[in-house]
Symmetry: C2
Subunit: 474 residues, 2 copies
């Protein structure tokens, strides 16, 4: 058990300031302490704004010497409090927001090397500028940073085809908890030279080091895309449709998103100007985005697929976008759902994944379990192709979230117990952060937890890196 | 530094025998101690043949209690001595050869759960039996076992499209060095519940635990395949062809293999009955295997690709298989090269990877460096799409390997120094084993090595798991 940490106080800061250029340290702004859902307010003795990996190393070295906690900070978009330390000795935030450079680009190799502070949308743009695709795409792409995406192993809408953030990364550079720099920016497709520290740091949410740069995989963009919104017969129908689509378009399904009726109802209430294709909305629908190679006529292929699915009784209505604008309009519906949810105000949100085959039964049982706790509304949507649902529970119509705060723990327990019982994960794409530490202890495999703690103690014996995230301190 | 280990002697074995069914322990056979290239002979006090994960746990627990080394043994096909402990206190071999069951199959989810001792070809067959593809494919697939493939993060011929072994694995069950069982057989596409121990154990070559079972990803098999052997203008031409193929057939190139002229010359000498399509063979050629979806006429697509490549000056000759038998014949040429190499007898073999763009310059410089050491012949072939070459050096024509043994270290140093200087890896797909421990120390990032040692000490404080593999003991 490491000794308690000291706060990031004036004495520490004055010593650290001597080691850094003049404008590297400052007071944290509100944006450094808030988080998207407004649940917790962080605290910090200061925010460090390094410009180079060497400066990050100096900062971590000094923090280690002084036993001061370090909270790595990317875009501040995390949804599980991984970037928000609300209690304990005030840490030093280390924001990578000044480290936004492209280090190198190799279009012929499909490799882009960037610093960790680059905004995800800028990474996408840098890939597009050389005619390539960087497929990581998620709601906060305009403000999240690639280092945070990797630290959290972000998911998003294109995982089905291209994988999670870890699958898009060939190598990382990072500052380890003792301040040494891990030089791992290789751009190799095969490298079995020792333990894969890249994959260990990716998804460790800043508790084993600070990722400072990454070699990323780029892909040829599909020659043609086609998007459709299809009304399906329940979750079973959606899964059968996914299976059919996988056979007809192997490796070409860029996204396969489930939308429950409540999502459309919320959009109608919160964003009445957003044009909806169905009236009334179907109970369940699927947004499917195909990225096709040259040689396949995209709209015709989607139309033929719709006909086949309709004949098989898998879909009962649908619209196929016939222009980029229409495709963007269908995507806007899907992407607006989290915003609408925030306006309505969830009592409890769940980022869960399940084995694909278990999804229909899970939804039946989860709906029943929630209904047993009160007249709640459920908005369930998400990345069906990945078995990853956002199963969010809202107050009854006309009810206010504040009146149901007391139900949150019971709701969460009911949903998470069921996910665990059905071999799922209660931390699918958002990570553990600080909000799911107890869930990990409750549901995690004991051997895995013991190994995680041993690794944390081995690499960060002082416990300075993102204290209290993923694993409990003290 | 852990204390020295004790040998697996009669006293230990008699105590262990009390904990296991009667026929679980025996003397190792020659196959347990030999390795494919005949370079080293292993030693072992006994071989354990558990039937269940629980028995593996009992064995590891007992070994930990007695400070006896454990060498996990799969198919014995490793090429870097990872399964061969030639010196030190005699270890206990733990062979998974009796653990060959399918635990579960979920065709609709594309998931197969198997025990670690299943032969790779049987895994492929189990996938095919439900209409799916398990794409890991390599020369030893008839005898290697999936647990060993995962422990070594095997590569093979389909990495370009489907990834390395680690990319094909959703979850693992393993026995950790203290004998606890890691229950991680989830079949989820997104699971960010804590550190990714799966990726840490995969590629750790049995030094952090014994993989006992795995959830594997299955894919829809391509509707049509087409194979061609194309003569290219040097490695630059091969890379340009790869780039063009990637644009024309994104995500559909199952394999892209480089073959140097020496490969065909060796085949002509060693296997004169094998029909070769070119006379004389081209200096450089590429075997390309496209797996295409329904809707693309495979042979016509390859023919059009050939015409485009020829007009661009990238290829100057070629054959396109027009039947499965012809496709198999082309593949047989590629797959027979390692066998021919063994008959000729390499002085030094190198499993290396480089950034794709660096390959042509590497080959120029490596050939010059080898020529400076003597009149050697180089047979260079491999997985160009992954930047992974087998760069093997042979005695001059008429020379015998035995006369050049003294040159091996200098050859190896010349090639590996160059690989390292050009940002490559000297352990691309075969791993580190015991033969490349010193290379890892020499070329590895110091921060990475220190972290690896810390992780090893944390998870295996007694140093019993595959002692001396990957990391030096004592």
């Amino acid at each position: 058990m490491p000794a308690p940490l000291f706060p990031c106080d004036a004495s520490f800061l004055s010593r650290l300031a001597l080691l850094l250029p003049q404008d590297c340290l400052g007071p944290p702004g509100p944006r450094h302490l808030e988080e998207p859902r407004g649940r917790w307010i962080g605290q910090a003795g200061a925010v460090a704004l390094p410009r180079t990996t060497e400066e990050v190393a100096i900062i971590v070295c000094a923090a280690a010497a002084a036993h001061v906690g370090v909270v790595p900070w990317g875009g501040g978009t995390g949804l599980v409090g991984g970037q928000v330390m609300a209690s304990g000795a005030a840490p030093l935030l280390v924001s990578l927001e000044r480290m936004t450079k492209t280090r190198a680009v190799y279009p012929e190799e499909g490799v882009l090397v960037v610093e960790a502070g680059m905004i995800l949308a800028d990474v996408q743009a840098a890939a597009a500028a050389v005619g390539k695709l960087f497929p990581l795409a998620l709601a906060s792409e305009g403000s999240c940073r690639i280092g945070g995406n990797l630290a959290a192993n972000a998911g998003g809408v294109n995982v089905l085809r291209y994988g999670n953030a870890r699958d898009l990364c060939l190598g990382i550079e990072a500052v380890l908890p003792d301040g040494t720099i891990l030089h791992g920016l290789k751009r190799l497709r095969k490298d079995n030279a020792g333990y894969d520290l890249r994959h260990l740091l990716i998804g460790s949410e800043g508790t084993l080091g600070i990722i400072t740069a990454a070699s990323l995989r780029l892909f040829p963009p599909p020659a043609r895309s086609v998007v459709a919104l299809l009304a399906v017969h329940g979750p079973e129908g959606a899964l059968a449709l996914l299976s059919l689509a996988g056979d007809r378009f192997p490796g070409m399904i860029s996204a396969f998103e489930l939308i429950g009726r409540m999502g459309f109802d919320f959009l109608a209430k919160v964003m009445p100007d957003l044009r909806q294709p169905f009236a009334p909305p179907p109970d369940w629908s699927v947004l499917i985005d195909l990225g096709l190679p040259a040689g396949i006529e995209a709209e015709a292929a989607m139309a033929a697929f719709y006909d086949e699915a309709a004949q098989a009784g898998l879909v009962h209505d649908g619209v196929i976008a016939t222009s980029d604008a229409q495709a963007a309009g269908l995507w806007r519906l899907r992407e607006a759902i989290p915003s609408a949810n925030r306006v309505i105000g969830a009592v409890s949100s769940h980022d869960i994944s399940l084995p694909l085959g278990a999804l229909p039964e899970f939804l039946r049982r989860a709906d029943a379990a929630v209904a047993a706790l009160g007249p709640f509304r459920v908005n369930c949507f998400g990345h069906l192709g990945d078995g990853n649902l956002h199963y969010n529970v809202f107050p009854p119509k006309g009810g206010r979230r504040a009146d149901y705060e007391g139900c949150r723990d019971r709701l969460k327990t009911a949903v998470h117990d069921l996910v665990h019982a059905m071999d799922g994960s209660v931390a699918a794409e958002h990570g553990v952060g600080r909000v799911k530490v107890a869930d990990l202890e409750l549901y995690g495999d004991p051997a895995k937890l013991a190994a995680m703690r041993a690794i944390k103690a081995a690499l960060d014996p002082l416990g300075i890196m993102n204290p209290g995230a993923v694993l409990r301190t003290g």
